[in-house]
């Protein structure tokens, strides 16, 4: 079978409080998958952070959604378009989606997928902590945004 046209990557350390928001959102979407027959075929992936080999996962997709926790900012949940861009996040520790897209383009020389980043602001990143109640509320909002994106993608396809 060919690869799924849509990839959703949730990244973060599940052992560090709200840093688990990325993997948690992926788990929520996987559970929701059975209730959304209209969604396109999706591959779900979780990891601690984005690293260069994820360029292989991104390659050949039509749509990629990166999901990450972030520090509290002016918006609790943000969905934004991601485009290939060189920055200094060339460490494996903190490679950005934009840098990963750029690495994918440089390495394989192929058209890049349409890509988005869903950022969810966390409040507590302590070792061994559970998701904060604030983060749980924001997770519900983020699931809704991802649901809209995936349903809309199906309609546009």
């Amino acid at each position: 079978m060919s690869i799924a046209p849509v990839l959703i990557v949730g990244y973060g350390n599940p052992g560090r409080g709200d840093d688990a928001l990325g993997p948690e959102l992926v788990a929520r979407l996987e559970a929701l998958r059975a209730l959304r027959p209209a969604w396109p075929r999706i591959e779900f992936l979780t990891d601690f952070q984005l690293a260069p080999e994820h360029a292989v996962d991104v390659r050949g997709r039509a749509l990629v959604l990166f999901v990450d926790a972030c520090h509290a900012g002016w918006r609790p949940v943000t969905l934004r378009r991601a485009r290939a861009r060189r920055d200094t996040t060339f460490t494996s520790h903190a490679m950005s989606p934009e840098a990963l897209l750029d690495a994918c383009r440089e390495a394989f020389g192929e058209p890049l997928p349409e890509a988005y980043v869903l950022e969810i602001a966390g409040t507590c990143f302590d070792a061994g902590a559970a998701l904060s109640s604030v983060a749980r509320d924001r997770l519900d909002v983020a699931v809704g945004l991802a649901d809209d994106l995936l349903s809309g993608y199906r309609a546009a396809a």
Binding site: L45, F48, T88, T91, D102
Partner: protein, 496 residues
């Protein structure tokens, strides 16, 4: 006045801080205490993030350890999974694993070695090595490598990917998967998994050979400088197999001095504390281990790929052993002590990992056989492996209810703590003394630290923006100058 007693408050001295260090795993900070003539009086590599895992794990049941410790670090979860699992084997009284279980663990471990070494060499170290330490920061990064050497960048990605696929086949997932259970493993390799990995094996082996050749060429290109850069001579420590062979999964502890003589050999790692003691410095969260036989001042040592080239008597795979011999002979033995020799040694180990994976995939024990053994439970478990970055020790004490009451971890980077400080001191003394500070010069210090591939903290990447900040402080602690490298790579001088 001793070196350690110097502070920024000492009249006539000023402090330079590099914070955080880039292209290492986690956050570190370097401070240089400089006098009015720009002579370096003191150099320190600080660890500014406290992990606290040993406290966090207290009160948890021992059988959770192999899974819990994977979340200790997002960079090397497999290493912690295996070392923690070996400690739990001891807790459940299993001293000999079924052949299938040990071979599955070895397969997973060598997959981890391959992917970790590939990432470090191709994506973290190669910009410095290919373009030079003084190249402009806009050029000295992995994107420039991809643009000018696309085949190198592509092979780096695909080598890393192969290692991850080996891990996935063993654990069910590339990340967060579980293979190790108390006394064994929870799965065999399926024929389809084996065949998939086998199909790519010859290509991976060929690329690993090319990588060793590239590392050797980059070292030899300026051998005299590379031997002298962050130069030091130290004892080396690692596990070795009963016959003295390199073994990254199991063995006894061996320490060799810089002159090649053996300090101790085939020591049971279950009593590592008889040889390895730790001291604490108030300025760093990371401890300073030392060899008891040599004492706290002289007993610091190095671990990891460079150390393992010297501690073992041979590598038990033919291609890597040929390369090890060439490495040890190079420059009348200069490379074996060189900080930058780590890169070359790392690629030799990557080749060894590829050879080992290929041999394991031919072993029918992976496809069937007993998965686990049982034994009589004990209250103390110690697990040690040779992780990509060096010797990794997990030590747990449990109570009658099976709950952990004490834990001690000595991770690879901690073993190399003093060595990294020595490297910073050597570079600062040679390259920074009496000169104005520039981003390129400060990068020399980072290059020295980076050679050890330090892993300084857990993976909370959400915290991880990685700008570089350099502050100059006078003897009173007042900032007199400040250099900042922004997230977009620009270096700006900011008003104090």
């Amino acid at each position: 006045m001793t070196d350690s007693a110097l502070t920024a408050a000492t009249p006539g001295l000023r402090r330079v801080a590099i914070e955080p260090v880039t292209r290492v795993e986690g956050h570190g900070k370097v401070t240089l205490l400089i006098d009015a003539e720009n002579r370096v009086r003191q150099a320190r590599f600080h660890i500014v993030e406290f992990r606290g895992f040993e406290k966090f794990v207290q009160g948890r049941p021992y059988w959770e350890v192999p899974v819990l410790v994977q979340r200790l670090c997002g960079i090397c979860p497999v290493s912690h999974h295996l070392a923690g699992g070996k400690a739990v084997d001891m807790l459940v009284g299993v001293t000999v694993l079924p052949p299938t279980a040990e071979k599955m663990r070895r397969l997973m471990h060598y997959g981890q070695i391959l992917q970790s070494h590939a990432l470090h060499f191709f994506h973290l170290a190669s910009p410095d090595l290919l373009f030079g330490f003084d190249a402009d920061v806009s050029e000295r990064n992995v994107f420039a490598v991809a643009a000018r050497f696309p085949e190198i960048a592509k092979k780096g990605i695909l080598l890393r990917r192969y290692g991850q696929e080996v891990i996935r086949a063993c654990a069910g997932k590339r990340v967060h998967g579980t293979l190790v259970v108390p006394g064994g493993v929870n799965k065999h390799l399926t024929p389809a998994e084996r065949d998939g990995l086998r199909a790519d094996g010859p290509q991976i082996l060929a690329w690993c050979r090319e990588a060793v050749a590239l590392a050797r060429e980059l070292y030899a290109r300026d051998a005299e400088h590379n031997a002298d850069f962050a130069a030091m001579r130290s004892p080396f420590l690692s596990l070795v197999r009963d016959d003295g062979a390199l073994d990254l999964y199991h063995g006894g502890l061996r320490a060799r001095l810089a002159d090649g003589s053996t300090l101790f050999d085939h020591q049971d790692y279950g009593a590592y504390w008889e040889h390895i003691h730790e001291r604490v410095e108030r300025w760093s969260y990371m401890k300073f281990p030392f060899l008891r036989e040599l004492g706290a001042e002289r007993g610091w040592y190095r671990v990891g790929p460079l150390a393992r080239m010297s501690t073992c008597d041979f590598i038990p795979t033919p291609l890597a052993e040929d390369e090890r011999r060439a490495f040890l002979a190079f420059g009348d033995g200069a490379a074996r002590h060189a900080t930058l020799g780590y890169h070359w040694a790392r690629m030799i180990e990557m080749l060894h990992a590829a050879e080992t994976i290929a041999a394991l995939l031919d072993d029918p024990d992976l496809l069937g056989g007993d998965l686990a053994a049982t034994g009589q439970r004990t209250d103390r478990g110690v697990g040690v492996i040779e992780a990509p970055r060096g010797t990794l020790i997990h030590h747990y004490r449990v109570n009658d209810d099976g709950l952990i009451v004490r834990a001690n971890l000595i991770v690879s980077t901690t073993h190399n703590n003093q060595a990294m400080n020595e490297a910073v001191r050597a570079v600062a003394a040679r390259d920074l003394d009496g000169r104005e500070l520039t981003e390129g010069l400060l990068n020399h210090i980072e290059v020295a630290i980076r050679a050890y591939d330090p892993c300084l903290s857990c993976a909370t990447h959400a915290l991880g923006r990685m700008p570089l900040e350099v502050e100059l402080l006078d003897g009173a602690g007042v900032t007199v100058d400040r250099l900042v490298r922004d997230a977009d790579g620009r270096v700006q001088r900011e008003a104090p």
